[in-house]
Every structure is written in structure tokens, then in C-alpha cells.
């Protein structure tokens, strides 16, 4: 957890800067709005965290979010009665995609970068093949409540964060991180490495389903809803000090990474960094943050005990 301290400092700094630039941010409605906006990315980051800490990547979440929204719109087609069955189906789709990603990665031994890159192509191709190139149908009001009403989004975020923390404290989380740290040692200690990894991918899929529900609810159907979310989620996790390659990092820090990223966008926006240069600033900050994490002062690291 000590590794994660810098990200919380950065986040606190950004939040203060936002509050200074825009005092409305400190009002309940303003802050609620911020939380609502962060929720999908934070949930995706939590899902991505499980995969990354186990030593893998999930590049398919962006496409999966799009798939969830497009599928929901076509199946619900404005019919309120379909809301709950479709919500259940979306969760199942998320878990299923995660399951397939996980099985291909562990059983067929395809590097997850490739597995999920393939999944990204397949998912976005398949869903538009099905709808003929653009989303069809419409979401019901009941469906949209979750993303539109801030309280819901924040509530779901809270549940997700709590669940993620509890999972990482449980045997599952500890064995998952062990598998990411040293797969062989974990296996030889009786850890079902493949199974925990598959489960991690399923959690990532689940997080994409929930993020899809929130994003679809927030702004309605759109073909671009999931665009580049995978990169944002991975960036958030890495900003949180979680090491690509597995075995290191805390889930709360990964979620804080998502908050930091969103706060950064908000701040750049507030200060009117011109639309174009926004990306350049982002790129530099991401590199700088990760570099600073790697070259951190020894004092901030866990002090090794010399025995």
C-alpha cells in the first residue's frame, strides 16, 4: 500500500486545483457529478487491475463496453419490460467474454495481449455485423436510470470498490497476486493458477458490463461509447503504481489512478488547455507519473529488513 501513496498525493493535489479553479466542484452536486463521471472508468480500472496483477492484459474491454450498449439497445428496443432480462443478459455476456479470454489465454497459452486484441476485433466486428453497421433500437428509461441518476452510479461504484477490496483480501486475491508474481511457485504450492486467472478475466468482463450499463445509461446509445476505454483503463491502473507484468500493486491505488486520470481531464478542461495540446499534456504526464513511480526516492519504498 505504501507504493500507492504518491498517487493519492497527486490525486489530492489535482482535486484541490480543480476546486480552486471551479468552486462549484466543492458543492455536493458538483462533486456528485464528478463521481458519476469517474464511476465507469473506475470500475473498468478495478476490473483491469485483477487481470494486470495476475500478469496479463485485457485490451478487449473497450469493444466489450460498446457491445454491451449496442446489444442492450437492440434487445430492449424501448420496451421497459425487457430492462431486467437484458441487464441480466449483459452481465452474462461480460462474464462469458471474460471466460473465453481467460480460457484462450490459460489453456491455449496465447499471450493475453493477443487474445484480447483478437477479442477486440471479433467483438466489435460481430456486434456491428449483427446490427448492420450502426446501433439499432433504443434503451428503456428503466435501463438508463443507473447511469443517469448520479446516486445510482455512485452507489454502484461504492459496491464495486468494496467488492474489489474484499476480493483482494480474500484467498482469491492473495492467490491471484501470487500467480502474477511467480506462476511456477504458485502452481507448486497448489494454487489453481489457470482458474484464478480465468476468474480475473471474468471480473474484467463483468466490469465492462457494468461500465457499459453506466455509460449507456448516462448518454444513450452510441457506437463509440467504448472507444479507447481499454487504454484509459490500463493507463489508470498503471498510474496507480500497479506493475505491468503482475504481482505488485493495490486495487485501491488502481481505482485512484482512474480518479486521477479523470481529474486530470477535468483540470485540463477547466484551464482551457487547447483541445489539441490536451493530448500532449496527457502523454507527458502519464510518462512522467510512471517514471517518477519507478525512480521513486528510496525513503518512500518499503524499507528492506536486513536479517
Amino acid at each position: 500500500m505504501k507504493r500507492a501513496i504518491p498517487i493519492f498525493l497527486v490525486l489530492a493535489g489535482l482535486l484541490v486545483a480543480i476546486a480552486v479553479a471551479n468552486p462549484y466542484f466543492l458543492e455536493p452536486a458538483g462533486f456528485l457529478g464528478f463521481l458519476k463521471r469517474v464511476a465507469p472508468l473506475a470500475i473498468l480500472a478495478a476490473g483491469q487491475y485483477f487481470v494486470i496483477v495476475s500478469g496479463e492484459f485485457d485490451l478487449s474491454v473497450g469493444s466489450l463496453v460498446t457491445v454491451e450498449v449496442v446489444v442492450a439497445a437492440r434487445l430492449i428496443d424501448g420496451d421497459e419490460a425487457m430492462t431486467w432480462p437484458v441487464l441480466a443478459l449483459l452481465i452474462v455476456i461480460g462474464l462469458l467474454v471474460g471466460l473465453v479470454n481467460g480460457l484462450v489465454t490459460t489453456k491455449l497459452r496465447v499471450p493475453s495481449f493477443i487474445t484480447t486484441l483478437g477479442a477486440m476485433l471479433i467483438l466489435s466486428g460481430a456486434v456491428f455485423l449483427w446490427t448492420g453497421g450502426a446501433p439499432r433500437g433504443a434503451l428503456s428509461q428503466g435501463f438508463r436510470v443507473f447511469g443517469r441518476e448520479g446516486v445510482w452510479a455512485v452507489l454502484i461504484l461504492l459496491v464495486a470498490v468494496t467488492a474489489a477490496v474484499l476480493l483482494m483480501r480474500a484467498d482469491f486475491g492473495r492467490t491471484l497476486i501470487a500467480a502474477g508474481d511467480n506462476e511456477r511457485a504458485a502452481r507448486l504450492s497448489g494454487v489453481r493458477v489457470d482458474r484464478v486467472r480465468v476468474f480475473a478475466f471474468m471480473l474484467s468482463g463483468l466490469s465492462a458490463a457494468v461500465a457499459g450499463i453506466l455509460l449507456g445509461g448516462f448518454a444513450g446509445v452510441s457506437a463509440q461509447v467504448g472507444q479507447s476505454l481499454e487504454f484509459q483503463a490500463i493507463t489508470a491502473v498503471v498510474l496507480g503504481g500497479v506493475v505491468l507484468g503482475g504481482g505488485r500493486g493495490h486495487v485501491v491505488a488502481a481505482i485512484a489512478g482512474a480518479f486521477t486520470l479523470e481529474a486530470l481531464f477535468t483540470l485540463l478542461n477547466l484551464h482551457g488547455i487547447s483541445g489539441a495540446l490536451e493530448y500532449a499534456v496527457q502523454g507527458v504526464i502519464i510518462i512522467a507519473a510512471v517514471a517518477a513511480g519507478g525512480l521513486r526516492l528510496p525513503a518512500l519504498r518499503l524499507s528492506p529488513s536486513k536479517v
Binding site: 497459452r109 477479442a119 477486440m120 466489435s124 466486428g125 505491468l244 496527457q282 502519464i286
Partner: protein, 317 residues
């Protein structure tokens, strides 16, 4: 080395031939025919991706990867076209400037990865964002003009063979030679195999990684020049629209190079790129929906890598 690479390489060429045969049959069944023109089309189609993928092979072999190539290609196309400004006399300057910009970007990638110790994924993603910001800031759309002389690079043919294909072949051969016959090539394999071992053995590993990135970016730069010559202008979206970042990585891996580095080579990558291009050509012939293509591409890549994993897995056990 040869024995090891031979497996996936042979596999990808076998797949290539099988795909050609099946494609030819399908197209014939559909009432069409594969003509010389289609073959030329395949060469044209694969040239830009091929050049980027050859460069990407270097980065991946060295245990790294480069997600910034797509934006770099756009940038280079613009820099080149603007420098040429329609004047044949500016071609040489433009090429030099464009390649200089590429090398610089590669240098930044390499230095961020090795000296700042940022994971290649994040480092090159960050550099990609920076280039994107610069592009968005400086350019509103296609800009510059490529003189007709330089357009020859993209359109001319020598006999039935497009100059672009020859350029690609030259880049591939040069990199193949570099990997097989030079110290740098040898060390790229070593660093990709195990950086720590290479370092302790006296290899200046940082330099090797930086060199691999500079070469990778130079290849992207060459691809950018080629695209500028095809388009007759520079375009700020030509790299990303082409999806050269992820597609070049997919082609490299399809060619049997291990994503973890240290294993594979250019021959496989060439096969991988050709396989993707042939698929594309067949899809075009059959007028297959582009979404269906994505599905097939995704499946092909995953299945291919699964097959390689099985083979190497059997060797190891």
C-alpha cells in the same frame, strides 16, 4: 536459431499458401478470378503495413513494443509533404527531415523506456499521445503537396512489380541482414531473451533497446513517406485510420515472433503481413462486409498464436 524460428515461420507460409488456394477456389466459385492485377494489389496493399511491421519486429524482438507508430506515420506524412510543397527539388530535404523526425521519436521512445524505466506499453502510448497533440495542434486536415516525381514511389511499377513492394522488400532484407549478420542484431535477440543476462555479459542493453526503437521508428517513417506519396499530401489521420499500431503488432505475432521478445524474425513477419493482405484481397473479391473481416482477422490471429503455443509447448515438455 533457424530450427527454432523455422517452425512458426514455416507454419505462417503454409497458412499463406493454404489461404491463397482456398481463396482462389472461393473466388472462382463466386464467379471471379485472381488476376495479375490482384497480385499487384496484394503487394501494394501490404507495402506500408509490411514496412511498419518489419520495424515493429525489431522492437518486439528486443523485448519492447511500439504503440506510437500510427501517429508517427501521420506526422511523417505531413512533415514530408509540407517540406516538399509540391517541388521536386525539395524531395531529398523532405526525406531527410522526415527520417530525422522519425529517428528522434524513436530515440525518445527508447530513452523513456531505458533511462526513465517506463514500461514500453505506457512509454510509447504516452509518446503517441504527445504526437497526437502536436498533430491536432498544428494540422486541421491534409496538408502539403507531394510532387508527381515522388508520387512514383507509390504508383510506379517496374514490370508487374510496384516500386512500393520493392521498397518493402528492401527494408525487409536490410533488417533481416541486420538481425542475422551484425552485432546489433545478435544483441537485439539477447536483450529480448533476457536483459539482465545480456547486461551482465557486457552488453550495453540500453543502447540496444534505443537502437531497436530508432530503427522501428525509421521504418514507420519510411511507411509515412510511402503513404504521403500515395496520397499526394500529408494527412493527420492516415496512420491511425490504417490502424498501423495494433495491426503491425498483430502481423509480427502472426509471423511467429514471440511477444515476449528474443524469438522470431523478419521472415515470419513478412509472411504474417502477406497473410493479412491475402485475406484482405479475398475479402475484397468476395465483397465481404468489413465487420465480418474484423471477426475473421481476430480469429486468425488468435488461432495462429494458439497453434504456435502448442508447438513450442510440446518442445518444452
Amino acid at each position: 536459431m533457424i530450427a527454432l524460428v523455422a517452425n512458426p515461420t514455416r507454419a505462417v507460409y503454409a497458412a499463406l499458401i493454404a489461404t491463397l488456394a482456398i481463396g482462389w477456389a472461393l473466388v472462382a466459385f463466386d464467379g471471379g478470378a485472381f488476376t495479375l492485377n490482384d497480385i499487384v494489389g496484394i503487394q501494394q496493399r501490404s507495402a506500408a503495413l509490411g514496412i511498419v511491421a518489419v520495424g515493429q519486429t525489431l522492437a518486439i524482438l528486443a523485448g519492447s513494443l511500439d504503440l506510437s507508430v500510427a501517429y508517427l506515420i501521420s506526422l511523417v506524412s505531413l512533415v514530408a509533404a509540407e517540406t516538399m510543397a509540391g517541388q521536386s527539388s525539395n524531395i531529398l530535404t523532405a526525406v531527410v527531415v522526415a527520417l530525422g523526425v522519425s529517428a528522434l521519436v524513436g530515440l525518445v521512445n527508447g530513452v523513456v523506456i531505458t533511462k526513465l524505466k517506463v514500461h514500453a506499453f505506457i512509454a510509447t502510448l504516452g509518446v503517441a499521445l504527445v504526437i497526437r497533440g502536436v498533430l491536432d495542434h498544428l494540422y486541421d486536415g491534409p496538408a502539403g503537396r507531394v510532387p508527381v516525381d515522388f508520387q512514383q514511389l507509390g504508383y510506379a511499377r517496374i514490370g508487374p512489380i510496384p516500386v512500393a513492394a520493392i521498397l518493402w522488400a528492401a527494408v525487409a532484407v536490410a533488417v533481416w541482414f541486420l538481425l542475422r549478420r551484425t552485432r546489433l542484431g545478435n544483441r537485439i535477440y539477447a536483450v529480448g531473451g533476457d536483459v539482465e543476462v545480456a547486461r551482465l555479459s557486457g552488453v550495453r542493453t540500453d543502447r540496444v533497446v534505443i537502437a531497436a526503437h530508432v530503427l522501428c521508428s525509421l521504418c514507420a517513417g519510411v511507411a509515412g513517406l510511402l503513404l504521403a506519396s500515395r496520397l499526394g499530401a500529408g494527412a493527420p489521420t492516415v496512420g491511425t485510420d490504417g490502424g498501423y499500431d495494433l495491426e503491425s503488432i498483430a502481423a509480427v505475432v502472426l509471423g511467429g515472433t514471440a511477444l515476449a521478445g528474443g524469438r522470431g524474425g523478419v521472415a515470419g513477419t513478412v509472411g504474417g503481413v502477406l497473410l493479412l493482405a491475402v485475406l484482405d484481397s479475398i475479402f475484397n473479391q468476395l465483397e465481404v462486409n468489413s465487420f465480418f473481416k474484423d471477426v475473421v482477422r481476430g480469429v486468425v490471429i488468435v488461432v495462429a498464436v494458439a497453434v504456435y503455443a502448442r508447438r513450442t509447448g510440446r518442445r518444452a515438455s
